[in-house]
């Protein structure tokens, strides 16, 4: 499928945000590991790597606004719905298992990885049900 200019802009934004994520995460990990982060800076330094990830969600929203092809928009919205449903379902099940001490406690940021995995799952569902999918 020929990619739209909106798709290209989305990709550029995601690449920049990914680079920013690395630029924030690596010093934060190093700083906390070696005790270089003063108390007053701990919260801002810990939150900084989250901001580019939030930016990726924003970039996806921006792409939905800019994409002119309504069918492609629908495919992506379906993928987002699958990703959200998939993530919330896993979070719910894990939450109860955790509550009854049947599994270990998981870090919250895994939900982001599961959500992006859910986007892929949504793409597979689109492929199976509509014969078309968009990789995002």
């Amino acid at each position: 499928m020929a990619r739209s200019s909106a798709w290209k802009r989305y990709n550029v934004r995601v690449i920049w945000l990914s680079l920013l994520y690395c630029a924030f995460l690596l010093p934060a990990v190093y700083g906390f590991k070696h005790g270089l982060v003063p108390g007053w800076a701990a919260y801002p330094v810990a939150i900084l790597p989250a901001l580019p990830i939030i930016g990726i969600f924003g970039a996806l929203g921006r792409y939905l606004v800019e994409e002119q092809d309504e069918y492609v928009r629908m495919l992506i919205v379906r993928q987002i719905l699958w990703a959200s449903g998939f993530t919330l379902s896993i979070a719910t099940v894990w939450g109860f298992l955790d509550n009854f001490r049947l599994v270990g406690h998981a870090d919250g940021y895994w939900l982001i990885a599961i959500w992006f995995l859910g986007l892929g799952l949504g793409g597979i569902v689109n492929r199976l049900t509509l014969g078309a999918s968009v990789r995002c």
């Binding site: 020929a2 002119q68 309504e70 069918y71 492609v72 509509l130 014969g131």
Partner: protein, 71 residues
């Protein structure tokens, strides 16, 4: 929604890609509309009808008329 897009396209000798380019949508979109897997929005449906210089009801079959015709 049932439509005559494939027939209309064939009479002009256009491929799905040709039609997609004229409508400024993806080929996937044209394929999905042709096969009835996706109902276009009203603006896109009008754009399609205008491209073929036909009234919209000559391109898309109204689901309610289709069901009443079946009765």
């Amino acid at each position: 929604m049932e439509n005559r897009l494939r027939v209309l396209r064939a009479t002009r000798g256009w491929s799905q890609a040709d039609l997609a380019e004229r409508l400024e949508v993806s080929r996937q979109s044209v394929n999905a509309i042709e096969t009835g897997k996706y109902d276009p929005s009203l603006p896109l449906a009008f754009r399609i009808a205008e491209l073929f210089e036909l009234p919209i009801e000559n391109v898309f079959v109204s689901p309610s008329r289709r069901s009443s015709a079946a009765i």
